[in-house]
């Protein structure tokens, strides 16, 4: 049986990756953000899972608008890091975990989630920045194999928050029904509040973000009840991508322990958040 040992929620703003790639993490505009990551990174370094699942969205790099899957899951052996226009990030390609991924596909399709199955996929900053938040210096390889779980957050209608939470719950069941003993980390990415275009560009809502940060641990069902429109009103047009945190949250137990969280404005035009949860029940750390 496989077990989710932790859940990590984190923004995936490209400039966070760029700041790391260009050695600017001590720059005054960035230092507080990276200092806020330190406790999570230290804990994660001590709790390396056998496999990780990254819930993310692509930003016009791995897929385009010819087809937009609501939910996609990668079963490949390897995922190349996308060149988003000016050279790929200097980070390792991603090793997949086809065996667990195929098990997840069968379980989730049986539970009536209508996945799109990817055997070929280039992953962009939405995927690699969270890996960098977790592991700033991966060397030649990320700490473990990773499975991508894509969510459409760009083209309306996005899946509802409730559907994302339900997917996460089914994902948790699917992981626990895997016959092999494996430890799994789940990353939910995106957010927090931000809006990139329109007269309301630059919108940030720290009150909503604080509520989200609290309830993602204590009352995810309340967040799952929010409509798309309410999410966009409260978190901005692009802040709706917070629904991906709910997929991660659904895969964890009802009771989880917060290891660390932090909040920072602005990363580019975005409120950046991080929240790390220990999912090992009453087990000692």
């Amino acid at each position: 049986m496989a077990d989710v040992i932790w859940g990590l929620a984190t923004s995936h703003v490209p400039s966070i990756g760029a700041a790391m790639d260009r050695g600017k993490t001590e720059d005054p505009n960035w230092k507080a953000l990276f200092d806020g990551y330190a406790p999570a990174r230290a804990w994660l370094a001590e709790h390396r899972p056998d496999v990780a699942i990254v819930v993310y969205n692509d930003h016009a790099n791995g897929i385009d608008l010819d087809f937009v899957p609501t939910f996609g899951l990668g079963t490949a052996e390897q995922y190349e890091v996308a060149d988003e226009g000016f050279g790929r990030r200097p980070v390792p390609d991603v090793v997949g975990h086809p065996e667990l991924a195929l098990h997840l596909v069968e379980s989730l399709v049986d539970e009536e989630f209508d996945l799109t199955v990817f055997q070929e996929l280039h992953v962009d900053h939405g995927f690699t920045v969270p890996l960098s938040v977790w592991t700033p210096d991966p060397g030649d390889a990320w700490p473990c194999p990773v499975i991508p779980l894509l969510v459409n957050v760009i083209q309306y209608p996005q899946p509802t928050a409730a559907r994302c939470y339900a997917l996460g719950q089914a994902l948790g069941r699917a992981i626990r029904s895997y016959p092999e003993d494996l430890t799994v980390g789940v990353l939910g990415t995106g957010g927090m509040s931000h809006q990139l275009a329109g007269a309301r560009a630059g919108f940030i809502n720290p009150e909503f973000d604080a509520r989200w940060m609290e309830q993602i641990q204590t009352d995810p069902a309340a967040l799952a009840a929010l409509s798309r429109e309410e999410l966009i009103r409260q978190a901005g047009a692009e802040g709706i991508e917070l629904i991906m945190w709910l997929v991660m949250r659904g895969a964890l137990d009802d009771e989880i322990t917060k290891v660390h969280s932090d909040y920072f404005v602005p990363a580019s035009n975005t409120a950046a958040g991080i929240a790390l949860f220990d999912n090992r029940g009453s087990q000692p750390g």
Binding site: A60, G85, I154, Q155, G198, A201, G202, I204, S268
Partner: protein
Amino acid sequence: MSDTAPDRFGLPGTPIFDGETSRRGLRMNKLFMSLRTAENRERFLADEAAYCQGFGLTPEQQQAVLDRDWQAMIDLGGSIFYVYKLAMMDGRSMQYLGGVFTGMGEEDFLAAMRAGGRRDG
């Protein structure tokens, strides 16, 4: 909101990239995505109008691209993630675009972000 994107969501100042918008902007967004390769950027810069025509943009979309009218690109179906590829090619940041969309200019926009971001009303 522009005429072409009525605010059916009741979210003023907030472009929603829905299916109808995506349909309207498909050719233009494909053009933006193509700018990920240096080769295509060179071809684009060598003759922007011809490149736009090759992708089947409408005259309004082509004019918006040639004029770097960022607001018009959004109104005509551009997705901000795609439009941003053109901005990147021009060496423009997302903060620059924020300055354009809000009418504040880049410097004031950046200052507002550093002060904690913009709020409603």
